[in-house]
Amino acid sequence: MSEPVDFEARNRLRSIVNRTTELTPLKAVATKAIQMAGDERTATMDLATVLSSDLALTSKLLRLSNSAYYGYSRRISNVREAVVLLGMRTVRSVAITSGIIDAFSVQALGEFDQDLFWAHSVSVGLVAEAIARETKVARPEDAFTAGVIHDVGKLAMILAEPKLFSEVIDLVTAENMRYRDAEHAVFGVGHQHVGGRLAQRWKFPETLVDAIREHHPERMSRTIETLTDVVAAANLACNREGLACGFDWTRSDERKPREPLPPRVDEAINRVHGGMTMLEEKARAFLLHVTERAPRWYARRAGDGEEEDDAARSVA
């Protein structure tokens, strides 16, 4: 699924992306972290220096480093130590994702719940990281970054066109339309295209842009071979577990994958000590430390039954 060719849709895409970058400039640190060459060890010192200059980010990073999230027994007391012990790519992905989470803060909009949006996104990031670690088709840290920002197009649409987006919400909640169809009916473009464009604008590497743009494939690949497969599969796995995005979780048929996920997805999740429950806990901890407040979370899921929808709604 490449970008839409239709002229009007492309204009819409461009105007949403322009307006978003105007409204939410990324912090210098996040921009720098994105553009830093992945394997250049010489960039490490730069990264530590740049990160240290941002006190807010440094304090988030250190809190996260010393929390159960990473489970290090040693006390990590500065950015240099975090870079050496957790790794440059890990620290970099924390800088990028927390920079983006910070930058996007949308007003409450109908049924859209920003906390649950990030809850879903970070869960996808962690599942993607686990799948990448298991299949070795991509760097786990890149998979995490791609997973966390895969749906960022939705936020851009809300920021740039709040009125249009509330129409989408109406169509989904009142008319019982599928989210994907409603989005297309109102905007003429999908959030994955907006997200892909945005990632391009931020100068993310090509594989990451692809993974965002292609995270809703027509058919889920039977094997995991690229970062795109990783993110698409992680997204479906989270939806299956009820860790779904902001408001479109209301329709359970939409989040049940139509075809079974590649077996390696569940192998990867089960390889994590504590499985999906642990990944969910980690997602919660990540948001707690990055947003510096306890995020609203999904209601206790009572199993795989339909009642979970009502439970989640009452919390949202």
């Binding site: 394997d39 050496v84 012990l85 890990t90 299949t135 995991i224």
Partner: protein, 322 residues
């Protein structure tokens, strides 16, 4: 009775004398030629000499070594005063003892030297206690060191335990230069160790483990960190090593193990082989935990591929097709 007045007390010669002679430290004064002019009762108790034997004599005679006395004078001239300096001193009816002396130069209103006042304390007991303390402390340190070693090292192989090896590796990473922070990890596992135990017994099994540990240590460089990772698994951390370097290291260990029989005495020996998985930061993993995980996966792959080999790559295609 009027309250005691500080100034009047100081101007009363008799009060001053009383206070001077009541002082438990020996008070000794010399003129500007360093001859003794004042020698209190406490001095007599400490040195054992009667005042008549000392008065008018050079003060240096009271001290056992000219050298020590010279150093004392030098410090006094340099700083104007000396505080609690230890010097060997003479005792009339016994061997020299250790005195702690404090002193000050006395000057008149014009600033010209009048002499010296020296306060003397017998430090024999203090020194005894200090020596005993120091001795105890050293023994405690030894013991803590031995306990620490026992807590962090495997008794059989003398290698670091898993946790302490990882901690040491982390500390090395933190201490190293960031720009050069390449780090190699190698995991070794004895092939068919159970068979060795079953056919020769556990004592021979232990001997084999100790011999393998010795081989790894011999091949490792001085600053490499080696540890016993689990039953028959060993780990080596190679600071600064690339993937190629850590692979070469593991290959040398593997070859050395395969070439040499472990001698059990009486011409009996047992041949063993090992499998290894290696990884390196930053090419294979971002941090130590992930690097160990990758090395572990590769060790498993080496076992599956038939043992007695080193695996340094992932076989993604094959695993993905599963």
């Amino acid at each position: 009775m009027p309250p005691p007045d500080f100034i009047s007390l100081l101007s009363d010669a008799e009060s001053l004398q009383l206070m001077l002679f009541a002082c438990p430290d020996g008070v000794l004064a010399t003129d500007r030629n360093e001859r003794v002019v004042l020698y209190t009762g406490a001095c007599e108790t400490i040195f054992g000499f009667a005042p008549i034997e000392v008065m008018g004599q050079p003060a240096s005679r009271l001290f056992a070594s000219d050298d020590g006395y010279e150093r004392f004078r030098e410090r006094l001239e340099d700083d104007g005063s000396v505080s609690s300096m230890e010097l060997p001193a003479e005792r009339k009816d016994g061997p020299p003892f250790l005195a702690a002396i404090s002193a000050a130069l006395l000057r008149d209103r014009d600033g010209s030297a009048m002499g010296t006042v020296i306060y003397v304390r017998d430090h024999t007991d203090v020194r005894g206690i200090e020596d005993a303390l120091r001795d105890n402390n050293r023994r405690l340190n030894d013991m803590v060191g031995r306990l620490n070693h026992a807590a962090t090292h495997d008794q059989l192989t003398g290698m670091l335990y898993r946790g302490s090896a990882i901690e040491t590796a982390e500390a090395t990473m933190l201490a190293s230069d960031l720009l050069a922070s390449q780090f190699g990890v190698a995991l070794f596992d004895l092939d068919h160790f159970k068979a060795v135990n079953d056919s020769y017994g556990h004592l021979v099994g232990d001997q084999v483990l100790a011999s393998l540990a010795g081989t790894i240590r011999q091949v490792a460089r001085q600053h490499d960190i080696v540890g016993r990772f689990g039953g028959e698994e060993f780990i080596a951390f190679l600071p600064g090593a690339t993937l190629e370097a850590v692979r070469g290291f593991a290959e040398r260990v593997r070859a050395a193990v395969a070439e040499h029989r472990v001698e059990l005495g009486d011409g009996v020996g047992v041949s063993i082989t090992i499998s290894a998985g290696v990884a390196a930061i930053p090419v294979c993993a971002d941090n130590l935990t992930d690097a160990i995980r990758v090395a572990d996966d590769r060790l498993l792959a080496a076992k599956r591929a038939g043992r007695n080999r080193v695996t340094w790559q992932d076989t993604t295609g094959e695993r993905n097709a599963a």
